[in-house]
């Protein structure tokens, strides 16, 4: 039986594995963390329909059954293209696995919000990222550091995205709608809270997103202010003072919030460059892996037998990631069938 190795047990890796298993391949997943689900595992609910992230991961994993081996806590130490066309995959504690095809589904990392120093993440008590807020939703408690219910909450869009200062000019796609989702959820939790979203422009590109944006305003009274945050500072009571320019009103304003949530963008996962170097894959200027052709061969690489899926090639929503992973699985199947002939 042909053996396929997948790097990453996130939504992309798991989705591709289920298709490949169904097609009769022996699939091994190498995961660097102690759990599967990737970034989605730390989320509470997902846009656009508020389904539980844990439910989605269960749905994706269910078809795997016992036929797919997942090795957790594994760091890839070498990836070698062998003379027989297979790829030797070695981790720090496993014997070398000889893969007939390799799927890189190494995903993304959140932009390190510490780097936007002026927003005070890691400095001020009540500055959080959207991932921190999801953890609070998961725990069933959204409270300030001092344990109080927040009365005013601000969301800053495009933190580390579309920002030349930090070297990331690209849009991370999902942050706008995530902010709309989280702002609405906060209002469901605290109907009397005042919630502000500070945005450059709102990119509501999928069918349901515009409705979510509309509902956030009409049903929940979330206030959307076009303008970028200049800086945040902490007051004596640990609330956060924001200096913002409202570019529609042409005014600057000072606003205090009890919680500030930074919508950190997507960055290539930390080991993307290392994997690319070991295999001779190409990375774009943003650091994401680049396929042979983004239009027609979006899962293929220039290295025979190596394929790409999910957000390792750039920001994607979860449905896009799953579709991309299924597409990669079909590509691998076609590739192996051709090789057999």
């Amino acid at each position: 039986m042909k053996n396929i190795v997948i790097i990453g047990a996130g939504v992309a890796g798991l989705s591709a594995a289920s298709i490949l298993k169904e097609k009769g391949y022996d699939v091994t997943i190498i995961e660097k963390k102690a759990y599967d689900g990737g970034n989605v595992a730390s989320w509470d609910r997902l846009f656009p329909d508020s389904r539980r992230a844990s439910r989605l991961i269960d749905d994706v994993k269910r078809p795997l059954g016992d036929g797919v081996t997942i090795h957790y806590d594994q760091s890839i130490t070498s990836l070698v293209k062998m003379k027989d066309g297979r790829i030797g995959v070695k981790t720090d504690s496993l014997e070398t696995i000889h893969a007939d095809a390799l799927l890189v589904a190494s995903g993304f990392s959140l932009f390190d919000a510490h780097l936007k120093e002026e927003y005070g993440y890691g400095i001020y008590d009540n500055v959080y990222t959207q991932a921190d807020l999801e953890s609070m939703f998961n725990a069933g408690k959204v409270l300030t550091r001092s344990g109080d219910a927040p009365r005013r909450i601000g969301f800053v869009h495009c933190v580390g995205s579309r920002d030349e200062k930090v070297g990331n000019r690209y849009c991370s796609k999902v942050c706008c709608v995530t902010a709309v989702k989280q702002a609405s959820e906060i209002k469901q939790l605290y109907p009397d809270a005042q919630v502000y979203c500070f945005y450059m422009d709102l990119r509501m590109f999928e069918l349901p997103y515009e409705d979510m944006y509309f509902n956030a305003q009409k049903l929940y009274g979330v206030r959307f202010i076009r303008g970028r945050l200049c800086e945040a500072a902490e007051k004596m009571d640990k609330s956060v003072v924001l200096k913002v320019e409202d570019t529609l009103a042409g005014q600057t304003m000072n606003l205090s919030v009890d919680m500030l949530v930074l919508m950190a963008g997507m960055r290539p996962a930390s080991d993307t460059t290392r994997i690319a170097t070991m295999l001779g894959l190409h990375c774009g200027k943003e650091g994401f892996l680049t396929p042979v052709d983004t239009f027609s061969r979006g899962n293929e690489t220039e290295v025979d037998g190596v394929f790409l899926a999910g957000t390792c090639t750039g920001p994607k929503t979860i449905p896009q990631t799953i579709a991309d992973a299924r597409s990669a699985a079909i590509c691998i199947d076609e590739y192996l069938k051709k090789r057999k002939k």
């Binding site: 120093e117 500072a233 902490e234 007051k235 003072v241």
Partner: protein
């Protein structure tokens, strides 16, 4: 991992107590600051507004710490004040700066110590420009040679004088006669720091601790026993911005900037403010008098203002220099509340005596802001 020293602060960087908060930022912005052998360039205006600060930088360096700091009387303004006011062209400023560097090299020094924040920003800006556009550097070198016959030699290091005091703060602490501690309560004095805009806002990597959370002054306060006060308008300009005070009609912006800062820091009850820019301490000192006259508002205890000091003045007090030798009598906001808290001995009768013992005359008593001149305060 383990214990390490970051910006002079002992950091527990073990897995159980990872690098957090400001210390994490400071680690990203470390700067090499030589501890000796500097060529010193003065500010255009500091000798007029805080007349003993620069001379005490030299005294501290040479006499208290035994360092080699050379000053050439032929050095001039860096022209930054004219450059930022659009009256001196860029190439003229660059040539003037190139001449300062040439003087330094001729004197056999490689490290430049800069008194003024705007000069420091300008030197940094020009060095960056010349690094990225070598043809501009060549053109300036040619102009320098044609005008003065001198060769352009780039410095090995450009440090603001506050960088140097920061680097030597522990040596100063070891020789300290007084500490930033309230002698009556034993509590650390609460100090507001104010960093000049041109220090690191243009080139964060050139400032100790970066632009957002610089530790050049907070490090001194920390080392000398005080406690730094962070407050919401910490980063706000002091109001000195060139266009705000050079254009008389704009001076309302200046005082409103300063007032915004005072209103923001007031709830923290600071005992003093220190700054590392020529203009910041001047405006924060003088505008307290103006705000008191205009609005009847004072920010210190019992109707006094908050004493505002340069970092050299503060270092001088810590080392036990006489407050009047440090020029503290020319401050409009009285410094006596701070001196009393630190337990510094001073002779009020000598306050308005010159170095030669002659009477300098007393300023007119303010209407609102309390000073040591008020009869009930004497």
């Amino acid at each position: 991992m383990g214990h390490e020293k970051i910006m002079g602060h002992d950091i527990d960087n073990t897995g159980t107590n990872p690098l957090t908060g400001r210390r994490r930022v400071w680690k990203e912005y470390q700067k090499v600051i030589p501890s000796d052998k500097y060529f010193y360039v003065r500010s255009c205006i500091r000798q007029n507004i805080f007349p003993a600060s620069e001379v005490h930088f030299l005294k501290i360096m040479r006499e208290a710490l035994g360092k080699d700091v050379y000053e050439n009387p032929h050095h001039t303004t860096c022209s930054g004040i004219g450059y930022h006011s659009d009256v001196v062209p860029l190439e003229t400023s660059m040539t003037i700066v190139a001449r300062q560097f040439a003087l330094m090299a001729e004197a056999g020094y490689e490290n430049l110590a800069v008194s003024c924040i705007t000069s420091f920003g300008l030197y940094t800006e020009f060095l960056e420009t010349w690094q990225h556009f070598p043809h501009i550097r060549e053109r300036i070198a040619e102009k320098l040679y044609r005008a003065t016959g001198r060769e352009l030699v780039l410095p090995k290091c450009v440090a603001h004088a506050s960088d140097i005091i920061y680097a030597l703060r522990d040596e100063i602490s070891q020789k300290a006669k007084y500490r930033l501690v309230n002698k009556n309560t034993g509590e650390p004095l609460r100090i507001v720091e104010h960093i000049g805009c041109h220090y690191a806002k243009m080139f964060p990597s050139k400032g100790v601790g970066g632009a957002e959370y610089p530790c050049v002054l907070s490090g001194m306060v920390d080392a000398w026993g005080g406690q730094i006060v962070d407050y919401p308008e910490r980063r706000q300009c002091c109001g000195f911005g060139f266009r705000q005070y050079l254009v008389q009609a704009n001076r309302g912006y200046s005082i409103s900037n300063t007032k915004k800062k005072f209103d923001s820091m007031e709830p923290y009850h600071p005992d003093a403010i220190i700054a590392n820019c020529p203009g910041c301490p001047y405006f924060m000192d003088r505008w307290q008098y103006v705000i008191a006259e205009m609005e009847g508002k004072t920010y210190g205890e019992n109707g006094f203002g908050i004493p505002v000091l340069t970092y050299e003045e503060l270092a001088g007090l810590v080392l036990g220099y006489d407050p009047w030798d440090l020029g503290l009598q020319v401050h409009q906001t009285s410094v006596e509340p701070l001196l009393d808290k630190m337990g510094i001995e001073y002779d009020p009768s000598q306050k308005y005596k010159g170095l030669d013992g002659k009477d300098l005359g007393r300023p007119e008593e303010p209407r609102v802001l309390k000073t040591e001149l008020c009869p009930h305060c004497l």
